[in-house]
Homo-oligomer: 212 residues x 4
């Protein structure tokens, strides 16, 4: 799997009937359950189908293969996270820059903590399932959200360059990953939240200073 190009990860058919929608939903939910309950090994399509209350055959009607199933869950998760950060960005418009960064970072950390276990489960399958590509796409979306936000900042009018923002995002999620994978306690999480705010604020400030 590791090196081949990613093909056919998209769900197979768009659910047009109510029944289908329910089925897809059940399968999707079951995928997470199994991932959490059994880990990424022991994760089998049959088990997912069982948990979802459908047959394997049915599962394969909606997803062409195991990867597409996982990819879809991964994409959902990344969407949720991305959307949460986007929302935070929108709400932070027109504030001073450091508040913007704070709210963005806190939005990210909070949603990740809220979904800590599924995050950890997905870290493990990510690479086998086109994760990096998805992450890139999301990073692009976040970049745009952040840029839009910063354009409204009350105390600055330039903006950090794209690469700086992407680096910040990568650093932020990388640090988060470390802690989640290490099984950090709630106390550690709270501390990380503060520190990531500081990290992003200071980096952004420095990056903007350098630009001009």
């Amino acid at each position: 799997m590791s090196t081949n190009t990613i093909t056919a990860f998209e769900p197979r058919k768009t659910p047009v009937q109510a029944r289908s929608a329910a089925t897809v939903e059940a399968i999707s939910e079951a995928t997470i359950q199994i991932l959490l309950a059994h880990g990424s090994d022991r994760f089998t399509t049959t088990r997912v189908a069982d948990r979802a209350g459908v047959s394997v055959g049915t599962l394969y009607q909606y997803y062409p293969n195991k990867q597409s199933l996982l990819a879809s869950v991964l994409e959902n998760h990344l969407n949720t996270v991305t959307a949460a950060v986007e929302r935070a960005c929108e709400q932070a418009c027109h504030k001073p820059l450091s508040d913007m960064i704070r709210e963005m970072v806190e939005g990210f950390v909070d949603i990740k903590i809220e979904r800590a276990d599924i995050s950890v489960a997905l870290y493990r399958v990510s690479a086998d399932v086109g994760g990096p590509a998805l992450v890139k796409k999301m990073s692009e979306r976040l970049y745009r959200a952040i840029e839009r936000m910063i354009a409204t900042a009350s105390d600055v009018d330039s903006s950090p360059d794209k690469f700086a923002i992407e680096t910040m995002l990568a650093a932020m999620s990388g640090a988060m990953r470390s802690v989640l994978e290490g099984g950090g306690s709630p106390a550690v999480m709270r501390k990380l939240r503060e520190h990531l705010v500081l990290l992003c604020q200071s980096y952004m400030a420095a990056a903007m200073a350098k630009d001009s």
Copy 2:
């Protein structure tokens, strides 16, 4: 594999004859080759043994199972990286803080770029093989190296707290991972190098300012 505790990852027997030292080396080398050539799927103990020019049985005399084989390669890699950063830290003693950070970060980025492909290969197996625990251990080592280094800084005499340094390390390697997994070009790498320097410098400065 995902949820079980890590056991028996240690190599099985210490080679006492000259012959077996060579065998172990061959197996270890073959492990990397196969990982690079086939990716983490398609990675089988049989293939490794073939490539190493020994029988599977021989492989299993030195490694109790597939995981221990990968764990050993992962540990080697992390050791190499950690050692390189430690060396950079030693050489940066007695300089101003920002130079220290620069040299440390550059040491890290350079060794990672030098071993880009094996890094990417290992990211994929890390979680299945006790990676997070190893990473923690290495992070601890690096923390000590950095603390020792900063204690000699010519322009500051306080030091950032442990958590800050660990966060910096996690952010730095997380960002690196993003770029490596995304298949970043040499140009991107160079840019990342600069940006990570800046990120770490500004974060460290901010963290120290906050402390006092």
Copy 3:
């Protein structure tokens, strides 16, 4: 295998479709065939599947592992033997004690002779497959059958204690085993039949005499 507790010897799923009922039957039959043809070594799940005309995978859908396969055949055999003896016991009700014992013993010996080869094959796997436990269960069943029978005896009204009956059963089947494993000729078998009758009759008589 010798020391671990017995787990998961139960068949895996109950066939609901007509097709699978046939499959299970074929596998079960093939198991005996292979056991007879190749002995307890050379007995492999692959060979069984081949002989049954199905794939290994199919075999493992119905039996969680090799042991459960053998356990199921062993249980069938023990059931057959037990049932035959129970039947003999029922038919011997209301007769004098010594006739009862005779018919019971002859019932046992005859069914064992009829299935001599599978008996010998199963002796070899019994211990690896939870045999002793099954034997205990069957012994319990037989004890009840014998007790019920003796309660109707026309010439006695007390009954030997449980332990005596169990000892008789163990002695009877132990002696049978010796002869079967030794490859006794039909003539030897006939002689054994008589002698076992005598052995059980005299022991039962003695045991009852002692009790009172």
Copy 4:
């Protein structure tokens, strides 16, 4: 293994030097240890050699293969048991028949109880290792010992026929096996001892009565 004729089970060389004798002894002892510690599975020649403090190569200098190793231990055990019973028979000479039987049976049961665990371990390998043939040989020896003993009985002068004695031996050891394999408690063992005495006494008496 099950059906092929037994060949080359004899130890390979007769120890002529003291060193060899010690080695053979160590291996033999280790065989039992491993059998007890690991069960009949997990029993490997390498493990035996390790435990014996020699190399596998050395082991194979004294035993041509794994079976011969086990066969030798089995033979030792059967010899011990047989010798104990023979001794009991000698000591019971000139007594009344029922005392003879009592002492013979008690001799057997006692030695088996004393070696209960190794007995159970050996039951499991017996069939793979030529056990039935050895048992036959020992049964022959015991038959002669018993015949000699009965010839001196103070209260009878005929003797049961050979087949009767063999049947008694088979029944006695069969019953013993059942209890040992079932993990009988000491209390059960004591009870069995009494019952087997009675069983053998009454059967012998009946067999002799029938003959004449």
